[in-house]
Symmetry: D2
């Protein structure tokens, strides 16, 4: 019971932080899955997301994936922790076509200050999902009490 | 004179392609530099670009950089060529704070089918520029006549 | 029967190519798994592989992983195909300690000219395995008949 | 004079650490340039470095580059600091052919715990140098007194 309370509080913190991300609002994104170590963020496709050929622009896929990975890490850290993306790398496997975009961040390692996530982004087209982008992300973790000036600058 | 005509046509093609990118319109982005092998794309910062701490979200930086790199490659290919991002990697060096975002793509190699770009993104704050993100991108080049089925799928 | 013959020939071709890699001999590496789309390369740890703290140097992990990924791709291409690494990215998750190093390449996508692999490297210490490095690789595929001058240069 | 003494001591520490890297000895590598923020490591090409087509294997290029980047960071940190590679990404731009390999690490950012380097590797062939590989590396910095348990694990 104690631990489910902590999880609930932490998930609330993730949702609250997500609401502060202006870019997620701009993209119409929502958290579609929230577990310890795995977070998914989804958005309906829109014509404003396109690159020149009508596919979803790589930057939209990366935007959703970066937030998904960051929150996947937050979900495994103590309450009050903050995260910053150190770097990310994505391979674009298939043209991003479809009506829904779903980015997933999955934690592969959490250390004291460094976490690593696997990122993938799928698109739903005619009810079936295709992985369009796949990659990795390094996240810097600022645990409570280490604040405020331990941000790498 | 002949070659400047070709360059002019190619730059027109870049601009025309850029206008078809819905995401660039959504971000209020414009081409701020267009040379053979170097393209810059700039946007004024907006509150809708933010992550949870008010900095510009990594995905916005990557969106502008991905387009800048792609067009830098287009600027060095024959008229009628198309490009696709194979992968990109960005390190986020500094918190992205300021009023203007400027992403630059610079070609480091152009082969027959594979090009590689250096990407960097600066932010202007109090009239001075800071590099906030830096990375690399692999671009797949589809030259005319190789179309239509040579797209890697 | 026909297809098992083809597989057998292809696996022979992988082994023959592997034997031509001087670096694998220098590292004492061997192919420890060879399936269509998944290849593992293993080596016993030696003091000559160390970095300054006695862990296995990142470059050794990457060397084995790069070959594993390349051959994983070869195992899915027609006989007579060649491959070249376009790029790779590895995250180093844990200090590389132990008596055996095992690198695995797993194909995530094979297109006509571009393949993408997942790479991971584990170390065996006291009979248990730990993943020390994990990443991705883009591979350029030169299929037969496209030779000889289609190598991206 | 004071600061040149410090630099001299630090450069001695780099050289001493380099001598402890078994892999550098195995590859016959030497430090060919050592400045604050820029380190080069060179090796004569040998047939044991080859991949299947006789070019230098990607893993050899990465091995030299990873050490060059790590020591470039060490050269900018206080005496007694340690570094660990968090991740690296390399694009392989040209076939690695020639008689000498020279890897360079150049610091692009040094924070309290995170540094980022640009890596490139050139080969000398018929007295002229060609850049064969280019990429980036994230380095974790353990400054003195933060030891011993601050290593990310």
């Amino acid at each position: 019971m104690r631990s489910s309370r902590v999880a609930k509080d932490k998930f609330s913190a993730v949702k609250e932080s997500f609401r502060r991300q202006g870019i997620m609002r701009l993209l119409g994104a929502r958290i579609s899955r929230l577990n310890a170590g795995i977070v998914e963020i989804s958005a309906s496709n829109r014509s404003e997301f396109s690159q020149q050929d009508g596919f979803v622009h790589a930057g939209v896929l990366v935007s959703l994936a970066d937030s998904a990975g960051g929150y996947a890490v937050v979900s495994m850290l103590p309450m009050g922790s903050r995260v910053l993306s150190v770097e990310l790398k994505m391979n674009f496997l298939k043209p991003a076509i479809g009506d829904v975009i779903r980015a997933r961040g999955k934690v592969r390692k959490v250390g004291r200050t460094i976490a690593v996530c696997e990122l993938d982004v799928g698109m739903r087209s005619r009810a079936s999902w295709t992985t369009c982008a796949w990659g990795s992300q390094t996240v810097y973790c600022v645990r409570p009490r280490e604040e405020p000036d331990s941000v790498p600058a």
